[in-house]
């Protein structure tokens, strides 16, 4: 998995609450049994003028020239709520998004982010609104810097410290493969599995 240690980039404000994973990647854009080929469908309902075509909606933030190459999203409350589709994260990643800053995330979505090297970063809504205002003044120059090691986001000449659970932080910093990591605990799992067969035999 890709690591996330430190990243500086253009941040695109999309400060809507409850941006659901259907909005991030509509189901109609999930055409293949694959984790790839999803970037084009990212935010398709908002990004293109019609559902059939691919003509960019010039009003959508990611289509504005100033935000070309944006790699950080500034979002609203409950970002990534709804469907569990990991395709939302795969689409964001393929598009080039490395971190999302929001006041809160859908639980499954946040877990999906961490498993794909994408940082879900929680800051209060008013802080994000202030960062967004600063970014809007000059998106290309007013870049946001995120240092996961230090749990610090730098923007608008200030440093904002954020919390992240230690497990997610470690996974991201080291780009760990969770399955490989857990397989090192195979013996403990086997023991639990055998004990459970004795304790709750009706399950087996």
């Amino acid at each position: 998995m890709d690591e996330f240690v430190r990243h500086e980039g253009i941040a695109a404000p999309l400060l809507r609450d409850n941006i659901d994973t259907d909005a991030i990647i509509p189901s109609r854009e999930m055409r293949r049994v694959s984790k790839h080929g999803l970037g084009e469908g990212l935010f398709a309902g908002w990004r293109y003028l019609s559902q059939e075509g691919r003509e960019p909606n010039p009003d959508f933030v990611l289509n504005r020239p100033a935000y070309r190459g944006a790699s950080i999203l500034l979002g609203g409350a409950n970002f990534g709520c709804g469907s569990s589709r990991e395709h939302a994260v795969w689409a964001l990643k393929e598009y080039g998004i490395r971190a999302i800053v929001a006041p809160g995330f859908g639980t499954i979505f946040a877990g999906n982010c961490v498993r794909n090297g994408l940082l879900p970063l929680v800051l209060p809504g008013e802080v994000i609104a202030a960062i967004a205002a600063w970014v809007r003044a000059a998106p290309g120059e007013n870049r946001v810097l995120i240092d996961l090691q230090a749990q610090r986001l730098e923007a608008a000449g200030q440093a904002f410290y954020f919390d992240i659970d230690a497990g997610a932080r470690r996974m991201l910093l080291q780009g760990l493969d969770a399955i490989a990591l857990t397989l090192t605990r195979g013996e403990v799992i086997d023991r639990f599995h055998r004990r459970r067969q004795e304790l709750r035999p009706w399950l087996y």
Binding site: L15, R16, D17, N18, D20, D22, A23, P26, S27, R28, M30, R31, R32, V33, S34, K35, G45, Q51, G76, A77, N78, C81, G82, S83, S84, R85, E86, V89, G104, G106, T107, I108, G111, N112, R115, N116, D165, A166, G167, A168, R169, R170, A178, I179, L181, T182, L183, R185, G186, V188, I189, F192, H193, R196, R200, P201, W202, L203
Partner: protein, 468 residues
């Protein structure tokens, strides 16, 4: 120490706590479906990893299958067949039980699992599907995960999870006629926001929950994810055991007695402490309907479209967007709003009891001229049961299409849909933008409300059809 039901379920499956603060949780059962399960299985295989206990993994074809009577692998969704065939091939090579397209047990995963007795109290169960919380109604620790986590669970029989906090939502008072579990959960989400349950595992309790039958409890738990909860759970009781007894995968004989003795311990201790407690009085609860594009955009059916800055509204910009999307004006009464279509189905409300209440209203009546109305039973067994009771004839005589089982038009995957900007009243769980079709305008409601609205051709208070 006094423990909550959730604590007991969590501790029961705790393999070990990790140094980084996450817990390694043992997973008893895994469900997959062709939409997200196919990619999990193919990715696992590509990595050269095996399924730990394939006999404890199940797979349903439900998400993108057609629901026409003569359906096949060739779907209305352009590339649907790829998902179906990949899932079938991977399930077979991994030795996973598959409820395939033509299996008489086929249906929506969260309907099939309880119906077959696969989910049981005290079990941990995951599925790469957000509505897995539905199955918490059985007193199980059941929650939705992503595809990578599904691979993790398949390969290791565990998941690394951050322990959520605990919340109890006590629904007190007696439900009035025409008011159901769907109205309870919509009202809760409207009152506390679509993120109100974020970070919590929610136990639904209280007299109104105890009185609900098992299927209604599933409806309640189904939408815990729309509340952004980790999951929902209800303590098993006599109704739970009665529901489970005799089902194909339920234990029998001595094993049943052994299991039942354990299941009866699965309740929050009287003095257990929750991190948060909410109480909802149901005695004055009315049928609910959504007006906007989030389940939190819910009002009583007798209300009008609220102003974006109405008291308690925290998402003014979102509400303004929603008004424009839905083509509604502030102050417009919801009752009487003309609809183009009505949908009864989905893992929220497609069980036999849902079809019975809808049929009771539709009996001897016709849907409004020009309206499109569709009923999609949650499983082929629900469909067979409904047909044995003659409900299919009531639906079709009323003008409803009577379909085979699947997730159907709960979401639009590029295949069948309700049409551009059509206004639909629906028993499903999500009124998101374009969820049911291109710019489709969805109003969520209970089955009885959808049935009543289908007859009038506009959003209708179901109590107008109920005898007092």
């Amino acid at each position: 120490m006094a423990l909550t039901l959730f604590d007991k379920l969590w501790n029961e499956h705790l393999v070990e706590s990790q140094q980084d603060g996450s817990d390694l949780i043992y997973i008893d059962r895994i469900f997959l479906h062709e939409r997200t399960g196919s990619i999990a299985l193919s990715s696992l295989q590509a990595e050269g990893r095996e399924v730990f206990c394939p006999e404890q993994v199940f797979c349903c074809m439900d998400h993108i299958v057609d629901t026409f009577p003569d359906r096949s692998d060739d779907t209305t969704m352009p590339s649907g067949k790829d998902f179906i065939v990949a899932t079938r091939n991977h399930a077979h090579s991994a030795g996973i039980a598959l409820f395939d397209l033509l299996d008489p047990r086929q249906g929506i995963v969260h309907v099939v699992s309880p119906e077959q007795g696969i989910v049981q109290p005290g079990m941990s169960l995951v599925c790469p599907d957000s509505h897995t919380c539905t199955q918490g109604a059985m007193g199980a620790l059941a929650w939705g995960i992503g595809s990578s986590e599904a691979e993790h669970a398949l390969a290791t029989k565990t998941l690394r999870v951050q322990r959520p906090q605990t919340m109890r939502v006590s629904f007190e008072g007696e439900l009035a006629q025409g008011v159901s579990a769907k109205d309870m959960i919509l009202h809760l989400i409207a009152s506390h926001g679509a993120h109100g349950g974020s970070g919590y595992a929610v136990e639904f309790a209280g007299a109104a929950v105890t009185r609900l039958d098992m299927e209604a409890r599933m409806t309640l738990c189904n939408m815990a994810v729309e509340f952004s909860a980790f999951t929902g759970v209800i303590a098993p009781d006599a109704k739970t055991l009665d529901f489970l007894r005799g089902r194909p995968y339920a234990p029998v004989g001595e094993r049943w007695e052994q299991a039942a003795a354990y299941w009866r311990t699965l309740r929050s201790d009287p003095d257990a402490q929750f991190d948060r407690e909410l109480v909802v009085d149901c005695s004055a609860l009315q049928p609910q309907v959504t007006w906007g594009t989030s389940p939190q955009h819910t009002v009583a059916i007798t209300a009008a479209v609220p102003a974006p800055d109405a008291p308690g509204a925290t998402d003014r910009a979102g509400r303004e967007r929603a008004l424009a999307y839905m083509g509604l004006e502030v102050g417009l009464p919801l009752r009487g709003l003309a609809i183009d279509a009505a949908f009864i189905g989905s893992c929220t409300n497609s069980r036999i009891s849902d079809l019975r209440v809808a049929a009771a209203v539709l009996r001897g009546r016709r849907i409004a001229p020009g309206l499109r109305a569709i009923c999609v039973p949650g499983s082929m067994q629900v469909k067979a049961q409904a047909e044995a009771e003659g409900l299919d004839r009531i639906f079709t005589a009323a003008g409803f299409e009577w379909r085979a089982s699947g997730c159907s038009m709960c979401f639009y995957a590029g295949g069948e849909h309700f049409g551009y900007r059509q206004r639909v009243i629906s028993t499903t769980n999500r009124n998101f933008e374009s969820r049911q079709g291109p710019e489709t305008r969805t109003h969520l409601a209970s089955p009885v409300t959808v049935a009543a609205s289908a007859i009038r051709g506009c959003i209708t208070d179901p109590r107008e059809f109920l005898e007092s």
